[in-house]
Symmetry: C2
DNA sequence: AGCTGAACGTAATGCTATAACAAATCCTTG
DNA sequence: CAAGGATTTGTTATAGCATTACGTTCAGCT
């Protein structure tokens, strides 16, 4: 197992112009590789759901995904979307954003992680940031109160560099 | 204005046996004082809503609060609860927990703050922890990606000291 | 008393999520 | 290949969370 130090391709990429075709196909490839290792199946609905999430760096609501799936011939009932999304999340291929009640594709699915999320309030794009140092401090603060942290939600709302440069308030 | 350094009474109190009567009446007093300063009105529905939240250290869903209010002669439609809760939150007397879609009374309403929340998965109690150091690290991590954090949600799920001592898994 | 804006109440609706069950599909194993 | 079991997909129905719209009441002021 060569699980080397986590090296995100570029946490800020989501906010900058980039070769998104490459960006998303790399994520899809990594996802397939990961599922192969896990012995889980990337069925058509699941694959399509992941592709839909990967089209943008935004988070999408389950019903938004569902509309897309239904339009493409898949089932049109909520569980169709929720099941696919739940599968992706539980296999580390997507993340759920609590603040938004929405889902975003994971851009580093090869690595097991619970990132901190950076959500731009102007362009709605979402990026993943290294959460380890944040979690460490949080665990310390909690430990001072005798509390043992098992999972933590860390989601930041603010302004990305591109939007700030464009003079968004 | 003697807004001295923030000195939480005891962040872990929520998880420990304590004089809750004093605990909640102090919070209510502080809330009244704060609203007086702000020139906002603590009407009967609002006051009762705060009292209901203060009865326990758990977070309550809006409909749970609404049931209580309705049973006591207030309106029985969702906006009644949502408006009161929204008022409390926006005036710093209660917090909203994103993970739980629920609300909890603030225990230090005298001080303007966005705490980190510690949510015990065993007893469901919620405590507020000092978030400043956590936010500082988060801001740094975000800044490295060119992102400016404006607001952050920090919610930890885990096990409180009391539950851990009782041998909860 | 009369005006005005805040607060309250209700009806209606929309959005998010899950439970329960039936049909189809995959996968193993004899 | 056939039989059987587990997984996946689909549907119906329902639960849970939240807001819009609109009319009425009430505190505070002139
Ligand atoms: Zn991209
Ligand atoms: Zn942006
Ligand atoms: Zn207490
Ligand atoms: Zn506990």
């Amino acid at each position: 197992m060569s699980d080397r130090l986590y090296q995100p391709s570029d946490p800020a990429a989501a906010f900058q112009p980039h070769d998104h075709r490459h960006c998303s196909s790399a994520a899809l490839d990594a996802a397939e590789a990961r599922l192969a290792r896990q012995g889980a199946r990337l069925t058509p609905v699941r694959r399509r759901t992941l592709e839909i999430l990967l089209e943008s760096h935004r988070a999408m609501g389950a019903y938004e995904v569902l509309d897309r799936l239904a339009a493409e011939g898949f089932g049109r009932q909520p569980p169709v979307a929720y099941r696919a999304l739940e599968f992706l999340v539980s296999h580390g291929l997507a993340h759920r954003l609590q603040r938004l009640n929405a889902f975003a594709a994971c851009l580093n699915p090869g690595h097991d992680h619970n990132p901190a999320f950076l959500i731009c309030r102007s362009c709605d794009r979402v990026a993943e940031a290294e959460a380890a140092p944040v979690r460490a401090v949080l665990s310390d603060v909690a430990a001072a109160a005798g509390f043992r942290v098992e999972r933590a939600t860390i989601e930041a709302l603010g302004l990305c560099a591109s939007c700030a440069a464009e003079g968004a308030a």
